[in-house]
């Protein structure tokens, strides 16, 4: 274990390589390009492959293709590219192909604010592709955590046969920190389950007790069909209700039943907190500073709930943490996306949104101001702009 000065994007690439990623397809976009550059250099050394595709649509298509070929795969992009990838993220959900998509979020919408930080793609990560579907999305706050959560993303993808999104933001991606990367042992790496039955019995979309059927790579003797159409247990398109409904149920169940494992968060002093801060990604760093200041300056009982998993939303954690709090302050670099989820759980009268979408990070002072907002402002559900003006 050596201590090094490491950039977030590099930690992401190293986490992927440690997890066993052997294929990367991508298209240049700031602030994620370093990941592609590092993968282009490092993958061939490990016998892996890198390809720069003609756009982001092709990039995610290529990684899904390579994953079907049996490799662990990843692509990395930012907002505009993430928008382009949405259709094929849905394909990976329906075809249950493991893959990891890194989105180093920048200011949007459209070309937006290249390349200022933002956390505006949280809801797009959840609902970006059309139709009802489950999804896993993780959000690291530090360089070390970027390494850890990228590794976790691969493990979830392989274990649950699903696309996993990692929502970094520009600050986390470009920030350098002193890091001692942990050694990753074999026991920390999850590989997809392979079928053990003869090909004629193989059901690539069957209903095993784990809800995750084994995935045979192409070219290994298991000839089967993969489609984006809803399909039966063999993968053939179907419109029969008795085949569609079990499939939909299983695909949701495999994520929902494993929420305990997937949902990750950090707590700091939430037991006796009167004010609960909820934050994720780089905004959680501001929240932590605001927490320190509030305790030191005003002696307030403040707690912080830092979410590492955004989707599925850690509902139990938020509910428990907010139980005794009088108010809940949700800080994020958007105008209220995760805040919507928190409001849904704890009631909107208790929640104050602190956010901005102007390409600047949420400062500790902004959060402090929000915490000191009068109850009157509070019930008006102060918008970020109003808090700034009045604060």
């Amino acid at each position: 274990m050596t201590v090094q000065l490491l950039q977030g994007n590099r930690a992401c690439a190293l986490g992927a390589l440690a997890a066993g990623c052997r294929f990367f397809a991508g298209y240049p976009i700031t602030p994620s390009s370093e990941i592609a550059e590092i993968m282009a250099r490092e993958l061939p050394k490990l016998g892996g492959k890198f390809i720069q595709m003609e756009d982001e649509i092709a990039s995610i298509a290529a990684i899904i293709g390579a994953s079907v070929g049996g490799l662990k795969v990843m692509t990395a992009t930012s907002g505009p590219g993430f928008s382009l990838m949405q259709e094929n993220i849905g394909y990976a959900v329906v075809a249950e192909v493991p893959c990891v998509v890194i989105n180093v979020m920048r200011g949007g919408p459209s070309t937006g604010l290249p390349t200022s930080p933002a956390q505006g793609d949280v809801m797009q990560a959840r609902w970006g592709t059309h139709g009802d579907h489950p999804i896993i999305a993780l959000a690291p706050a530090t360089v070390l955590e970027t390494f850890e959560l990228t590794l976790a993303a691969f493990n979830f993808a392989e274990k649950f046969r699903t696309p996993v999104l990692v929502l970094m933001d520009e600050i986390v991606g470009h920030m350098r920190e002193k890091v001692a990367l942990p050694e990753v042992g074999v026991s920390q790496i999850v590989n997809r389950e392979m079928p053990t039955v003869p090909p004629e019995w193989y059901e690539p979309f069957g209903n095993p007790p784990s809800d995750v059927p084994p995935l045979a790579p192409f070219g290994e003797g298991y000839r089967y069909h993969i489609t984006g159409l809803l399909h039966d247990v063999r993968g053939f398109p179907t419109s029969r209700l008795d085949e569609i409904q079990p499939w939909i149920d299983r695909v949701f169940r495999k994520i929902d039943n494993n929420r305990d494992e997937i949902c990750m968060w950090d707590e700091d002093g939430i037991d006796d907190a009167r004010v609960l801060l909820v934050a994720y990604g780089s905004t959680a760093r501001s929240a932590r500073q605001a927490l320190k200041l509030a305790r030191a300056r005003y002696g307030r009982k403040v707690g912080l709930l830092r979410l590492k998993t955004l989707w599925p939303f850690p509902e139990e954690a938020v509910e428990r943490a907010a139980e005794n709090a009088q108010r809940v302050v949700v800080a994020e670099m958007n105008l209220g996306q995760i805040a919507l989820e928190v409001e849904r759980l704890v009631g909107r009268s208790k929640v104050l949104r602190v956010g901005r979408a102007d390409g600047q990070m949420v400062t500790p002072e902004q959060i402090l101001d929000a915490m000191r907002a009068s109850p009157e402002q509070f019930t008006r559900r102060a918008t970020p702009a109003r808090v700034q003006r009045e604060g």
């Binding site: 397809a25 061939p44 390809i51 003609e54 298509a61 390579a66 394909y91 192409f218 069909h225 984006g228």
Partner: protein, 288 residues
């Protein structure tokens, strides 16, 4: 040429998927037969063959064939296949696309796969129309033809697929029609055998939508048109003024050699002092 039509039966998922969803008289089944016969004649192992498709009538082709099959999103079949080829260079990957799939929504992937020269066989079933959605204009709908979205006649010129493929750098470019089945079989075999990006345009027809809008209501009338309008490449070369613009020139337009992408990438791995991943040898069909 020896033909084994009886033997092709085992290459189809006959007891699972048939009857197919194409209209009676459609040409797509002929192209599918040609693919199956080429795999059989080249004695490829079924486990080593992957058929990748996009969306549309042609997109439904893989489900009927007993290979590793993948029905991807609209226009992206070549991009999916590129990833699969890099992961499994030993596999024989055939990508089947319609004209709209390959040239409209997937046009970008088509030219870049050709430029990259990755070892895929791109079979474009060109029926000059979007059939599955009800007969809208496609990138190869002829000038002045009527379609559901061009009720007064189409005012855009069609894409010359073979010219486009050659300009983009594909080392093997050929065209035939679903009327000329023996020739199509021969070209299909050449295309599948080719190490590099091989483009085969299989000119088909859609009597249901295109035909109905353009006074060619039966498959027979459309077949006859393919027969009458097409001309072999050698014959076209002998014409002083060249072939008519609406004539279908059949044959191999280009067959040369360029460095192939997956082989070049192996050299990249060597340069990076990496270890080459173990590669399966191509297994010929026999006792498996």
């Amino acid at each position: 040429m020896q033909r084994h039509d009886q033997g092709t039966y085992e290459y189809l998922r006959h007891h699972k998927r048939f009857p197919h969803l194409w209209c009676a008289g459609c040409g797509i089944g002929i192209v599918m037969g040609s693919i199956v016969r080429s795999v059989q004649n080249l004695e490829l192992n079924q486990d080593d063959v992957a058929i990748i498709s996009g969306i549309g009538c042609t997109g439904r082709m893989p489900v009927y064939m007993d290979f590793n099959t993948m029905h991807t999103t609209h226009g992206r079949a070549l991009a999916f296949a590129t990833g699969l080829k890099l992961a499994r260079p030993e596999m024989e990957i055939i990508v089947v696309m319609g004209d709209g799939d390959a040239l409209a929504i997937g046009g970008n992937h088509f030219i870049h796969a050709a430029r990259r020269n990755i070892d895929l066989t791109a079979v474009i079933v060109n029926n000059n129309i979007y059939g599955m959605t009800g007969g809208q204009s496609s990138p190869t709908t002829p000038l002045d033809a009527r379609s559901a979205t061009a009720p007064y006649g189409h005012i855009e010129p069609p894409f010359p697929i073979t010219d486009l493929a050659m300009a983009a750098g594909a080392p093997f470019v050929a065209r035939s029609t679903v009327y000329h089945v023996t020739e199509l079989d021969k070209l299909m075999e050449q295309a599948v055998r080719k190490k590099g990006f091989a483009v085969l345009e299989a000119v088909s027809y859609c009597h249901t939508t295109f035909g109905r809008a353009n006074d060619l209501k039966s498959p027979v009338a459309m077949m006859r048109l393919l027969k009458d309008k097409s001309i072999p490449l050698q014959a076209a070369a002998r014409l002083e003024e060249g072939p008519d613009p609406d004539q279908i020139v059949r044959g191999v337009f280009r067959d040369d050699d360029r460095p192939e992408y997956t082989e070049l990438y192996d050299k990249v791995i060597e340069k990076a002092h990496g270890t080459l991943p173990p590669r399966k040898r191509k297994v010929r069909r026999g006792w498996v």
